[in-house]
Symmetry: C2
Subunit: 629 residues, 2 copies
């Protein structure tokens, strides 16, 4: 630990001392990737800094999260009731983490006063033995008495992540000192040599502890993470009505070949297990992660890059169970999968991970926010029916905050650290995974200077990459070619990617990559019953949707049938599609052929990026469009 100013030597999910025999790529240090405001991702980060983070800070105050600390230390009347869900502290931690990444990105000092106040509060609220969770200290549960539901280690995990980010990005260790005292207590209590056996009902601390290890270099932090991975699935948690799958305690992590249960829990757990692999190189763990990743992304992922088909337990469903209307698709699940898929890329390589990250960023994550950056979706369904009524975590419109406010601050931290997913390096190449205006500093091994990425992506498919500096002969530039780009050129010449999905050119030369972003129709696996007979419109990385606000007079979203043989056309307002509107019959069930088909009316409908839906009059929306054929 250090009191020195920011030493940007480590980035999110950076193996601290990358082992030569583990993983295939390394992340770049904090600050080395600068997303520019001229690009879609950099502009988003600016909006995050200007709107989303300040909004989150205001909401923490309004929702009482900070008063939960103040009442403990006597800054306000100690009789003030505790407010929020039991894990409300984690909202505070996530906002701190968002601020930390924003400092790392922009060097802002705008939040320093807030950080000083809040970290001081946390430090004062901490108990002498290191314990710190306001809900438990307020008496909502006995300490460690309900590991299944109390979220104690989950809350600590978020504190650790915030503390590590602050250390990395702002060089301040005040929160890290607080977190380490709590980690010491947890290690003594639940560690490999601890007094008790126990894991958290909500995985999260595992990935946090590996990040802590990367910061501290202390082997016991890695060992504690691994111990918690080892215990998961051995039945140490008492299953409730939702069964042991709910918290992935139904089978050991290394034996599981499928993802199951609460989607956010499963995906954070997988990120943590992959983190452990990245530090230990344990083949059995990677093998399990590999199969689980395929199951999650080839059988249980929404086209928007969202996860979780079920409301009841916020859970993954069966393979191919992907209803559009009842998609739970929690924002936090997409964010958790960003963590996991990025780590899987570092471990495994290949463009499919970047393809997924791109899908998530441009669709599910982008749709979770309104245009102004201060209203949020918790659930992100792919269809909103005309008579939908708002539910607790699945409202009809985005809300400024939620009683369970896990998602908004998670969005803030994910956007602030988005630069982490843009590029990676090996000893001989720099790879660009996500396309947006960016300046990327070369690490020493690859020369000196800055790789400049300039593009209007995803508006068009041209990505110009130049090296402003020098690179040794043999140093390469690798550019991800998304699987959907069927005709790709480099410097005007048709180019096929390498088997791993990347195009490679000499780094010194740079490249003008052109991807094919013509609109295209996408079909789902035939076992996805929910969207049989439908297509989705995609363009580049963007998934499109039709919304009631764009429908011609008298046409309802659910009665549109698209012509897939007529090419969609890009216009100012979106993509227009040739279709028919079919008036619905009245009978719910009818004998096949017993009724004459209703006369269809030709219509042209405009589709908009799914990411932008719900910014006008609330109404029906759907991504998957029945075909007229």
């Amino acid at each position: 630990m250090t009191d020195q100013p920011a030493s940007p030597s480590r980035a999110a999910a950076t193996p601290a001392a990358p082992r030569a025999d583990v993983g295939v790529a390394r992340p770049l240090p904090v600050g080395a990737v600068r997303l520019l405001p001229t690009g879609v991702l950099g502009a988003w980060q600016d909006r995050n800094a200007q709107a989303t983070i300040p909004h989150c800070i205001d909401q923490l105050e309004a929702a009482g999260n900070l008063d939960n600390y103040r009442r403990l230390v006597g800054d306000i009347d100690p009789a003030t009731p505790y407010r929020g869900f039991i894990f409300a502290d984690s909202d505070v931690h996530k906002v701190i983490e968002a601020v930390a990444w924003e400092i790392g990105r922009s060097g802002t000092t705008a939040f320093d006063g807030w950080l000083d106040e809040v970290i001081d509060l946390l430090a004062r609220a901490q108990e002498p033995d290191g314990y710190l969770m306001t809900a438990i200290q307020a008496g909502l549960r006995e300490r460690w008495a309900d590991l299944e539901n109390a979220h104690e280690l989950y809350v600590l995990g978020h504190m650790v992540q915030a503390a590590v980010a602050l250390q990395r990005c702002a060089g301040r260790d005040d929160l890290l000192r607080v977190a380490l005292r709590f980690v010491d207590l947890v290690d003594a209590t639940f560690g490999p040599d601890g007094e008790r056996v126990g894991i958290c009902g909500h995985p999260e601390i595992e990935t946090a502890l590996v990040e802590l290890y990367r910061e501290t270099g202390e082997q016991r932090h890695l060992a504690l993470a691994q111990h918690m991975i080892d215990l998961r699935g051995t039945g140490t948690l008492v299953a409730g009505g939702l069964g042991p799958q709910y918290f992935q305690d139904h089978e050991p992590v290394r034996q599981a070949r499928t993802v199951a249960g609460h989607a956010v829990r499963q995906l954070y757990l997988a990120a943590g297990a992959t983190d452990v692999y990245l530090e230990t190189g344990e083949a059995e763990l990677l093998d399990a992660m590999h199969d689980q990743w395929v199951d999650a992304h080839e059988r249980k992922m929404y086209i928007s890059g969202a996860f979780g088909s079920r409301h009841r337990d916020e859970a993954f469903g069966s393979a191919y169970e992907l209803p559009s209307d009842r998609a739970y698709a929690e924002t936090c699940a997409t964010i958790a999968d960003l963590h996991w898929s990025w780590r899987m890329f570092l471990a495994d390589g290949g463009s499919r991970y970047g393809d997924v990250v791109e899908r998530e960023i441009h669709n599910a994550l982008a749709a979770s926010l309104d245009a102004g950056g201060t209203r949020f979706f918790y659930a992100n369904p792919l269809q909103s029916r005309p008579d939908k009524h708002s539910e607790e975590s699945a409202p009809r419109e985005r809300l400024p905050w939620y009683p369970c406010a896990c998602c908004p601050p998670n969005i803030a931290r994910a956007v602030a650290q988005m630069g982490a997913y843009v590029a990676s390096v090996t000893d001989s190449e720099i790879a660009v995974h996500q396309f947006a205006d960016a300046d990327i500093d070369l690490p020493e091994a690859l020369g000196s200077g800055t790789v400049r990425v300039r593009t209007r992506y995803p508006e068009d498919g041209v990505v110009e990459v130049t090296l402003d500096g020098t690179a040794p002969a043999g140093a390469r530039l690798a550019l991800r070619v998304p699987a959907w780009s069927t005709s790709t050129t480099v410097d005007g010449r048709a180019a096929d990617p390498d088997p791993d999905g990347y195009l490679r050119v000499p780094l010194a030369d740079g490249a003008r990559l052109e991807l094919d972003v013509a609109p295209r129709w996408t079909v789902a696996h035939p076992r996805v019953d929910a969207v049989r007979g439908c297509v989705a419109l995609e363009r580049g990385p963007l998934v499109y949707a039709i919304e009631q606000a764009d429908m011609p007079d008298g046409v309802e979203v659910d009665d549109v049938r698209v012509h897939t043989d007529s090419p969609p056309r890009v216009t100012e307002d979106g993509v227009t599609v040739s279709a028919v509107a079919v008036p619905p019959p009245s009978a719910l069930y009818a004998t096949l052929g017993s009724t004459a088909p209703a006369p269809a009316r030709p219509v042209t409908v405009t589709a908009i990026p799914f990411a932008t839906w719900g910014n006008r009059t609330p109404g029906a929306m759907r991504v998957w469009l029945p075909t007229a054929d």
Copy 2:
């Protein structure tokens, strides 16, 4: 009240003193309809008496329901913990009610000893002021402190129904005396002139109170029911996370035009409101019930006659939200709808109500039981995926009992009283709604003697109805013609039903009705996204399903595509269907046209009645079959 033996003058949902200006038909008295063991319904009732009811009695003992009373009265150690959900008493009441209807049907005395013991227990456990609910008496909640969740009036409702049935069928009033004391307390507390304003979070008592009024003739029992209908939807209940829809408190009953929230609650409420209409003739109430019934049955009913699309709140979904795999389709919801639809028929007339009752009895209700009558489904999905894992109330296979055991005893009482739905009378006709071997005694106004129904239905479509007795000139026999029967004959001649869906002949002549039970393909409304591109196989009243146990080697249920242009063929084992098996691709999403269609393998698959699925090796099942076209 009376201590006289059974006086079978009243039947289920019989307006006690039918008003000339209310309703269009009257039920027959208990005992007047005898379903014979040679028919499918009578055989089911025998199995109910021999297997299901005794099994339920055993399970009440094993699950501790009776001990909950014994501990209160000191028959066992008072320190014995209360067992089961808060509404466990209602399981006892429903089993008593099943026994009562069974006595009414068969005159059995086999359960008299059990009844004596249990009713004595209830009487002794009752508090001096009439209160009786073991969970509250055990201290799980304060009395009346949590009307939203404590189910106190719901539990009383079931007690009242059991008491009325016992009075009607067995002429014993011991339970009725207990129930009336509790009703008096509720009336004084929550009645029109009561001390407090309050309704139950779970509607059920409304319909029970109208039945009680039919038995006692006491106006205050009807007034109490009406008062509770009037208060519903006025916000007297504190809504939790599931919102006020959950217990239909979001809008007044007379204003609601759609069904919403917890399906069982909604359907019992509607049955109660319709019961109130049947006694008051209030047009506004019938008008609302009419629209709600159309919404429930033309927009929110599964083809099996099941209700409830959502697991989270056991609720109705949006219009046309009818997923097969995640159908909650609670058995109790189908039973509640039997109550409602029967009452709507009495109020409104027309074959659509009998059509729905038939669909429910032969499909959703029948499927909720195994072949032996002692294992039950709580949720009745229309698709079981190959990797389905068991959930609390939605297990992969039928279970002998549930922690929340509302369904099994509800099945027992529904089957025991099934004769009530078979026939009705007016001053000039007797109508037969459900077809099974039965003897039906004529009421005096229609002559004397017995109407005999003989049929192999639904195996074939021939129904012979003869009058063994005499009928006045002008007395008619009305026979329901199901909407699916496209070529119907009477005595060998083509016959079209009247506009209300009934064929009418002179009662003295009888009729040989022949319905068209050739297998047919059924399609769903195009807004039912969940089954787009699929057909269901039906035959007569039966919905069919394909099950993994019947698949040819190497063929999975979910990969079958049926040829709808090739007529299904009835065989010994079921109905065989010409189809292809299409090997699934690996990609979850693909650009339209980018992959060659997999070679399809012609197969013949056997479909079985949905009611009989799950009686062999557990495996995948589906009702809605994608077409090969």
